[in-house]
């Protein structure tokens, strides 16, 4: 079933992890965009994700991805540390989304086994440019403010005095001036190293210049030295020893401060207003910083615990497990219904056999449920689509998700992501009106799209409902007429049947072709993708109130409902979804044309007959049509009558692929795979679309 490439485990893990991180990041961005602001937590989270991506891609030698992630990381580092005001959020988010798109494309290439050759330099330049412009803004602001205040408002301070409260209770106060060796480079980082070193050792200290995170502080450090104002209980000697350890230290002067007030007042004056102004954000920053340093505390640890209860297993392993369980069920039947037991009265054996049966059934259910994945991931990706579309088309749409916890088989999820995206795009493009038109119609300015999933028997219904203008019946009919898609009896079509026309190939109702939809492939791709997984699409609409498109998809691809038929000694399974009816043909209904092609007349319509025994050259005794059975199958409007010996029964079967050896040897027409029947024998699954078009 799975044709997944066998990647190197490292690569596989990288792809898996990075994809998850990117998805996570997209979610964060969507929420931030809604709130139009970043919280400190979110910035930290984004920063962390970018950092991880950078690290792992650099390790895997995907330098382009690493460089891009690095640039993004820089941007968020700046945001985190500097908290610039008045930043254009949508601009940042656009930049990040562009970056994510790039990473996604590269990941796709990796999964397909292609070379990772994308060029990220343009994006990176963009990011750098943006970061520079941000920094520029920052500088202007700083200059403005420093006019009114002689001290630089941006500060870096580390204070342990908060806990101790009253200041001045320390025994000593010093001023230290440090000069670094010439040409040691990155003086600001050296200074930062000093600060890090002192932190934890000294009770309270401030430093000048304060913005040592910034390269711009370098000249000041060079000319005036790096100055520290220290309050401590340690003695002169101890402090000197501590500072002497500084790397690249050229000169150190340490003197006591007598007049505490004058020396420390600039810092104090600065501190108090900041704490009042932005106390909350500052505090949250501090706590998060601590949490980051100490991974055993705070939020990161909590999320790590969440991860522990979930493990990732490759689908191939699950398939194997399912095979084994299926085999066990057969083996169980072989034991409990063994012919050797016939006629024996074995009460205890029967009891034990029933117990075994109960357990195997349960096991089978569990294995099936393991393959089920909630739709939430796919649904949430649609947020991104909606966002992009709204931006491009200047429309306002909010997306509501209902029932995202509904579970479907992993394989199905892969198949419905694209159709869903097409449908959402179509709804926004064709359905939802421009804000001013909506207002004129008396609707709310912003449109709503509801994406809903629910279980219905062995199917899942996914509906996309918008409150836009709905389908235009006349337009659809006119368009269908233009493209020769109208059936002859079009006057009798019901509304629903008319709406169904939009799923025909080559149909597109929008007058102008837009970037997103209207190439006339969208809806038709949707319908064929969905029927490829054995589902169906229906459309409904109320004019001016909106349209609803409903996808009916089976829960799983691994199990299908099949009708098993017998031809000679061979068994074939026909997917029940394609079966229209089965019957014994009457002699009077059989027509043979001059080319010896057989046809069947059923209720006034003539359908071609395909003799399976001839088609597959199977020996059978039943060669007269009236002695066998006809199974009428239909796919995409085309009908075919399959002639078989007899019907065996209808049951759910587990689909298995034909062995690779046979597949590489020859492509066999009309075979979709094979399956194991209850008695352990193999039945071949017919590929109805393949047979009809053969």
């Amino acid at each position: 079933m799975t044709n997944e490439r066998i990647n190197e485990p490292m690569l596989e893990l990288f792809i898996f992890e990075t994809t998850q991180l990117v998805e996570q990041l997209e979610q964060i961005l969507i929420t931030t965009e809604k709130n139009a602001s970043f919280t400190t937590e979110q910035i930290n989270e984004i920063f962390r994700i970018m950092h991880t991506i950078k690290g792992s891609s650099a390790m895997m030698l995907f330098n382009n991805i690493a460089a891009l992630a690095h640039a993004l990381e820089d941007l968020f580092f700046f945001l985190r540390e500097e908290k610039p005001q008045g930043v254009n959020f949508s601009e940042i988010i656009d930049l990040v989304f562009n970056g994510l798109d790039f990473i996604n494309v590269e990941l796709l290439k990796l999964t397909n086994g292609d070379e990772v050759d994308g060029e990220a330099s343009r994006l990176i330049e963009q990011l750098h440019g943006y970061l520079l412009s941000l920094k520029g803004d920052q500088l202007v602001q700083e200059n403005l403010q420093s006019e009114s205040d002689s001290f630089i408002p941006q500060q870096f301070y580390i204070s342990k005095s908060k806990q101790s409260g009253i200041e001045g209770q320390f025994e000593n106060a010093f001023q230290a001036t440090i000069y670094f060796e010439e040409n040691c480079g990155m003086e600001n980082l050296r200074a930062f190293g000093v600060v890090n070193e002192l932190e934890g050792q000294l009770e309270e200290f401030y430093h000048l210049p304060q913005n040592i995170e910034d390269d711009e502080s370098i000249p000041e450090i060079l000319t005036e030295g790096f100055r520290l104002f220290i309050k401590t209980n340690h003695s002169d000697e101890e402090v000197r020893d501590l500072l002497q350890q500084t790397m690249f230290l050229k000169e150190l002067t340490l003197k006591g401060i007598d007049d505490l007030e004058t020396a420390f007042c600039p810092f104090r004056n600065e501190l108090t207003p900041t704490e009042l102004r932005g106390g909350n954000s500052l505090n949250s920053l501090m706590t998060l910083d601590q949490a980051e340093r100490d991974p055993t505390k705070g939020k990161p640890a909590a999320s790590a615990q969440n991860h522990q209860s979930i493990i990732n297993v490759s689908v191939a392993k699950l398939d194997k497990l399912m095979d084994l369980v299926g085999e066990m069920v057969i083996a169980e039947a072989m034991v409990t219904q063994n012919p050797d037991l016939k006629g024996l009265d074995l009460q205890n054996f029967q009891k034990a056999a029933r117990q075994l049966n109960k357990i195997t059934t349960e096991l089978q259910d569990i294995v099936m449920s393991v393959r089920m994945v909630p739709l939430a991931g796919t649904f949430q990706k649609m947020n991104r689509t909606v966002r992009d579309m709204c931006k491009k088309l200047n429309k306002e749409v909010s997306l509501k998700l209902i029932g995202e916890e509904t579970e479907v088989d992993k394989n199905i999820i892969e198949h419905i992501a694209d159709p869903l995206m097409h449908l959402i795009r179509n709804s926004i493009d064709h359905g939802i009106e421009e804000p001013h038109i909506r207002e004129a119609k008396g609707k709310s300015r912003s449109g709503t799209i509801v994406l809903e999933a629910k279980n219905a028997g062995s199917d899942v219904l996914v509906s996309i409902r918008d409150d836009g203008q709905g389908f235009n019946k006349e337009k659809i009919l006119a368009k269908a007429f233009k493209h020769n898609l109208l059936p002859p009896n079009f006057e009798e079509l019901s509304n629903k049947e008319i709406y169904q026309l939009i799923f025909l190939p080559g149909f597109s109702t929008n007058e102008s072709v837009t970037e997103f939809s209207g190439r006339g492939v969208g809806m038709d791709v949707v319908s064929s993708n969905i029927s490829a997984v054995g589902g169906s699409v229906t459309a409904d609409s109320i004019p001016e109130e909106g349209a609803t498109i409903t996808l009916k998809i089976p829960l799983t691809l691994a199990i299908i409902d099949g009708m098993t038929v017998k031809v000679g000694n061979a068994r074939y399974t026909i997917p029940t979804i394609s079966v229209k009816e089965s019957f014994k043909p009457k002699l009077s209904d059989i027509i043979v044309d001059p080319d010896q092609r057989e046809m069947l007349m059923v209720r006034g319509h003539c359908y071609p007959v395909l003799r399976l025994h001839q088609f597959y050259r199977v020996k059978t005794e039943i060669i007269e049509l009236i002695k066998g059975m006809i199974v009428m199958v239909e796919q995409e409007g085309k009908t075919l009558c399959l002639f078989v010996d007899e019907l065996v029964g209808q049951q759910q079967v587990v689909v298995k692929a034909l062995p690779t050896y046979i597949k590489t040897l020859k492509e066999i027409p009309g075979l979709a795979g094979c399956t194991l029947l209850g008695d352990g024998s193999i039945s071949l699954i017919l590929d109805i679309p393949g047979l009809i078009s053969y």
């Binding site: 084994l324 299926g326 068994r571 597959y616 690779t660 027409p669």
Partner: protein, 162 residues
Amino acid sequence: MVAEIDQEFLEEEDTQKGKFLTFLLGNEFYGIEIKFVTEIIGFQPITEVPDLPDYIKGIINLRGKIIPVMDVRLRFRKPFREYNDRTCVIVVDVLEVSVGLIVDSVSEVISISKGEIVDPPNLGKGGSGYIKGIGKVGSEVKLLLDCDKLLNEKDLESLENM
């Protein structure tokens, strides 16, 4: 690459080196390297798959795994012989492709040292090349099969015939 690693790995495993599983096909003994052999099963009902060369008899269910089976007699253009209870299916696994080989009967696993293996005589144009070497064991000779070639080289002639 996988093959190389396998090779290395297997060369370390002395137990498998130089050992061959021998089986009977008509009057000749054949041998295949033991490293390719997954298991030997008794003959079991085969599901026919249409439109395949006649030497591919169909598919069987091996504990939930579906594998094709090849009648080695037919593959070597020997006359078909009815299957009986001596008939065995040797399941071989070459580069992740599993195939069952139907043989008249399986005899034993023997060690043949490199020195005892000689190249097959060049019989001119008629050779199919499925024989990699000829092993001498006592007075008998065993024809050593090239498994890789047997499975992966397409039999052009029979494909054209169809």
